[in-house]
């Protein structure tokens, strides 16, 4: 059985988006930034795919090719990449600054202890066994 290019592309976009959403829902700013980046990649490929998938079709008229790919999504993707790059740079800087000023890289500014307590409210956190009676 051969996999079609369409199937690969569609599942690829879906998989990357799913990973991005999973990371986005994490509590620390680094996975959140990674998640945003992955969603950005998935969206860029998605825009590209919305111009339909072509083989051997240049996006330029007058090349004598039998078919032409739609050039507009490619232009849109370029714009989206540039904007995505700038905003990712900004959000990384912001996350670093947040970590520096707040003393924690948690998105809600929780300290490590507070976060552990929120995730494991019954004190059964891994590595916490010795301090369980606290």
């Amino acid at each position: 059985m051969t996999l079609s290019l369409e199937f690969l592309l569609a599942t690829g976009i879906g998989w990357v988006t799913a990973c991005g959403i999973l990371l986005l829902l994490r509590g620390r700013s680094f996975p959140v930034v990674l998640g945003l980046t992955m969603i950005g990649y998935a969206v860029n490929v998605f825009i590209f795919a919305m111009g339909r998938i072509w083989t051997g079709a240049p996006p330029i008229l007058g090349t004598g090719a039998p078919a032409f790919a739609d050039p507009l999504p490619q232009a849109l993707v370029l714009t989206a990449i540039v904007i995505g790059f700038a905003t990712t740079g900004f959000v990384i800087e912001l996350a670093l600054r947040n970590r520096h000023d707040g003393g924690s890289d948690h998105v809600d500014g929780l300290s490590d202890d507070e976060q552990r307590r929120r995730e494991f409210p019954h004190g059964d956190a891994p590595g916490q066994a010795g301090e369980g009676g606290r």
Binding site: I47, R52, A57, P73, T87, V91, L94
Partner: protein
């Protein structure tokens, strides 16, 4: 071509060029007064204020030009319409640009009273924000709308963090991350629409989307719903509004006041895309139509409840913002020209009032010493009569008491809702929301001005400078003017709503005659030539 023919692009270029000039001037070493840096800041203020004043003049000229019903179309680079990017200004677009100017000038005057020196590059970012706002309101292209959204968002990220502080950074991170997710969704929606119609021009989309059949139509509707999530997020439609109070309350007052117009960008985009492009034609309801009205009613209800529960004045005003956006969206969700006209009237007024309340709140807070804007008994304010009266005026207008414009807007809205099957719900929610808004603001006012702790010394007159109070007075005067000139403004907003419904005229203006048949790029035509894989 006279200079005035370039109006649609001038309102975008003016703030952009001013921002670049301001970057060159710099603000010296902001935060430290005196010396050379202070002079630079003074010049930056003068240039910034002059530029915004000129922006206001351009906006007024634009309103005057489109008031008769003309649609200004500016084809950038003279590319013909569906292929190049066209800037299109109709009554709605001109109104929104004018509203931007009306909010921006007082806010900038207020910020020049000292806030702009609390961090770097306030003035350039303010101008970039104006550029993004103006661009979003004049563009006639969906992807270009995305680009201007990003321009105004990136500027807003920096403005939101202006002044810094731990709380602001935390709220800022949430704000930025949520907006980046919304931007990704915006791109998905745009790409879906492009894939089905082969165009991004709003006028062209308005003609082609209703022509779609079967699965193409379904996918385009899915794209429209994705865009509804995005615009609902920007406009603070309820399940997506919980970010707003924290963000606005954590921002500095002038920035929060400027952000009063940011939610209206969402409302504008919603109206443009879901009102016009996806607007139900004949019997077919648009994709978003069944969603907007119920969600708007919920927004209204949750907004006032948040306002009642708020513990600081800034949070209270932020929740009032949510409630007012809910009221506007109720009008949009009714999907009749009369309701849209009323909603636009209410939108203009509520934006001015909310911006005024944010600024007023900070003036009051600065006179209460340690208590600041916490809604708890504190020292007496320095100017109880003047600030109290200003607060009363703003509260009455926000809640919709006659004869203030909030009342006129709500009355028109309810009149337009009288024929809708949801009439009972609309009446109940809008009226109760108005009542609870006045309860919330009256509670805040009585605590701030009357629950004075006698054991504390009466506070200073800080925040009493003519510039700060003049800015607040200017915004409040504008809402009173909305009431005095209710007739002309109401006629204009009603005409703007009528114009939105006339998609054929919009299409003719942008695309030229015979636009109904233009379909430059069709995927399913002549597959032998295109040979997709």
């Amino acid at each position: 071509m006279s200079m005035l023919d370039h109006l649609p692009v001038l309102v975008v270029l003016l703030p952009a060029l001013t921002a670049v000039a301001l970057l060159f001037i710099g603000d010296g070493s902001a935060g430290e007064h005196g010396g050379h840096g202070h002079h630079r800041l003074l010049w930056a203020r003068r240039l910034s204020v002059a530029s915004v004043a000129l922006f206001g003049v351009l906006a007024a000229l634009m309103v005057q030009r489109v008031a008769g019903g003309d649609i200004l179309v500016y084809r950038v680079g003279e590319w013909p319409a569906p292929f190049g990017i066209a800037l299109v200004v109709d009554r709605l677009g001109a109104l929104m640009v004018a509203l931007t100017a009306a909010v921006a000038l007082p806010v900038l005057l207020y910020a020049s009273g000292g806030w702009d020196s609390h961090g770097r590059h306030f003035h350039p970012m303010f101008q970039f924000q104006l550029m993004g706002l103006a661009g979003a309101f004049v563009t006639g292209d969906l992807f270009n709308l995305f680009v201007f959204f990003e321009v105004l968002l990136i500027a807003s990220y920096v403005l939101m963090l202006h002044g810094q502080g731990r709380e602001r950074f935390k709220a800022g991170l949430h704000y930025v991350v949520l907006n980046l997710v919304a931007s990704a969704l915006f791109l998905i929606g745009v790409a879906l629409l492009y894939a089905m119609t082969g165009t991004l021009n709003l006028a062209d989309l308005a003609i082609k989307v209703p022509q779609l059949q079967g699965s193409e139509a379904a996918i385009a509707q899915a794209g429209g719903l994705v865009l509804l999530v995005v615009f609902g997020f920007k406009a603070a439609l309820m399940p997506l509004a919980v970010w707003l109070p924290g963000t606005y309350a954590a921002s500095s007052a002038p920035v929060a006041a400027l952000f009063a117009i940011m939610t209206k960008v969402g409302v504008y985009a919603l109206l443009r895309v879901h009102g016009v492009v996806f607007g139900g034609v004949g019997d077919a309801p648009g994709a978003a139509e069944p969603w907007i009205l119920p969600l708007a009613l919920i927004t209204c209800a949750v907004g006032v409840m948040g306002a009642l529960a708020a513990r600081t004045l800034a949070r209270l005003v932020a929740w009032v913002t949510v409630a007012s956006v809910g009221t506007v969206l109720v009008g949009i969700g009714l999907f009749t020209p009369a309701a849209w006209g009323a909603a636009l009237y209410y939108l203009v007024n509520s934006t001015l009032v909310v911006a005024g309340l944010f600024l007023l709140g900070e003036v009051v807070a600065s006179q209460r010493g340690e208590a600041a804007d916490h809604l708890e008994p504190g020292p007496a304010v320095g100017q109880p009569v003047m600030l109290g009266l200003a607060m009363l005026l703003a509260a009455a207008s926000a809640a919709g008491l006659p004869p203030l414009p909030g009342f006129i807007g709500k009355a028109m809205l309810l009149e337009a809702a009288a024929v809708h099957p949801w009439m009972g719900w609309v009446f109940a929610v809008v009226l109760v929301a108005g009542l609870l808004t006045i309860v919330g603001l009256a509670r805040a006012g009585s605590i701030l001005f009357w629950h004075v702790r006698e054991d504390l010394p009466a506070c200073t007159m800080s925040g009493g400078s003519a510039r700060l109070q003049g800015a607040v007075a200017l915004l409040l005067a504008l809402t009173v003017a909305m009431s005095v000139f209710a007739g002309p403004v109401q006629r204009y907003t009603a005409a703007a709503a009528e114009q939105l419904g006339d998609r054929a005229a919009y299409g003719r203006a942008v695309l030229g005659e015979g636009a109904q048949t233009t379909r430059p790029y069709r995927f399913d035509a002549a597959p032998a030539v295109e040979a997709p894989r």
